[in-house]
């Protein structure tokens, strides 16, 4: 059986595979001896099925602090929510 992470990387790097239909991609995965879970994920369009193979690890996305909080100097031991202080407004700039 082929390694799923390696196959994902190959698909991501291949112009034909990245934009192939699910049916075309499943054919490729059958030839590549991909896992049943991987083939099912592609066939159904449910990539979350891959969690069956790798386990589910919830991931958080927000990497920005929200406007106005950047300059707030909080006590490192104090997690209590604090209101925004508009006088310290230094909002992050999306680039």
């Amino acid at each position: 059986m082929s390694d799923t992470i390696d196959l994902l990387e190959s698909i991501g790097q291949n112009a034909a595979l990245r934009h192939a239909t699910p049916e075309e991609l499943v054919e490729v995965l059958v030839d590549a001896q991909a896992s049943e879970v991987f083939k099912a994920a592609v066939a159904t369009g449910e990539s979350a099925l891959l969690f069956k193979e790798f386990g589910h690890k919830p991931m958080q996305l927000p990497h920005t602090q929200g406007p106005g909080h950047e300059e707030e100097e909080q006590d490192e031991d104090d997690d209590a929510p604090r209101p925004v202080n508009p006088d310290h407004d230094q909002p992050p700039l999306p680039g």
């Binding site: 595979l17 891959l50 991931m59 927000p62 602090q65 925004v84 508009p86 407004d89 992050p92 680039g95």
Partner: protein
């Protein structure tokens, strides 16, 4: 062929920091230079959006340390991000070549990479950022938007609620992190319908309630397609929105010519032609 071993080593080993972006889609967006930073690092810290992408990164280096465990419901994200900077800087100070890897672009909506680089440089260490393909880049491609056509404003959605901002409804408006809009605490990972209603109330000062809104999410895995939904502005509060989704409002009004400035420019043209 040049290798890292080709570089002279007649100087004391010093810690260094490179913050790189992994791009948005596994396998598709990682630049050769970013991969090189990862492979040549002593320690890699990972702030990524997807656990499978994190596994992929683990194939590139034997010492990848996830930053995800430092998040916690009820804990200020500001504290989490300061911890990230401390973790990164501890290794830089220990003389390690450190690579911070973040999803998308490491400098967009990402406080810690900018801060870590600032701190490292202030302490005399080499530190820099390598750009990556961001969610914004993918958005333009997937939605067919050229920001040069009508202009494009970007806001972290909460800024529109916390501050008095000027929206230009003749341009595109892109709102990031709508799933968290109005969160003053920084300790939640989503707010909800009532908070989005406040956002809609603010937006309704510049847009009709039946204005089309696009809810967009780019592909993280190469077997995924972008997720694109169209709803009316008035339906936004009751439309579930995740943290990773972005809201786009197309222009609501046509561009209006600035006749006074055009006349002034024409006069300048004539003066220049006569000179």
């Amino acid at each position: 062929m040049l290798t890292p071993d080709s570089l002279p080593t007649n100087h004391a080993r010093r810690g260094s920091l490179a913050c790189v972006g992994l791009g948005m889609t596994l396998g598709s967006h990682l630049t050769p230079l970013a991969r090189s930073h990862i492979e040549q690092a002593d320690v890699v810290f990972a702030g990524l959006s997807d656990s499978i992408v994190e596994l992929w990164l683990g194939r590139m280096h034997t010492d990848v340390r996830s930053l995800q465990p430092y998040y916690a419901e009820g804990k200020s994200r500001m504290k989490t991000y300061r911890q990230w900077v401390d973790l990164i800087m501890a290794e830089v100070r220990a003389g390690k070549k450190v690579c911070g890897v973040f999803y998308g672009h490491p400098g967009i909506f990402a406080w810690s990479p900018h801060k870590a680089i600032e701190v490292a440089r202030a302490e005399g260490f080499k530190a820099h950022m390598e750009p990556g393909i961001s969610a914004e880049d993918c958005l333009y491609a997937d939605l067919g938007i050229d920001p040069g056509r009508f202009g494009c404003q970007h806001f972290e959605a909460s800024q529109l609620l916390f501050y008095e901002r000027r929206i230009d409804p003749t341009s595109y408006l892109v709102l990031w992190q709508v799933g968290l809009v109005g969160d003053l605490s920084l300790a939640r990972f989503e707010t909800g319908s009532a908070y989005r209603q406040v956002l809609v109330d603010v937006l309704s000062e510049d847009y009709p309630l039946d204005h089309e809104v696009i809810i967009y999410r780019g592909a993280t895995l190469p077997i995924d397609q972008p997720r694109i939904r169209h709803v009316r502005l008035s339906d936004l509060p009751n439309t579930p929105i995740t943290t990773e989704e972005t809201v786009v409002l197309p222009p609501a009004m046509a561009l209006k010519q600035n006749l006074a400035i055009r006349a002034r420019l024409k006069a300048l043209d004539e003066e220049t032609a006569m000179a």
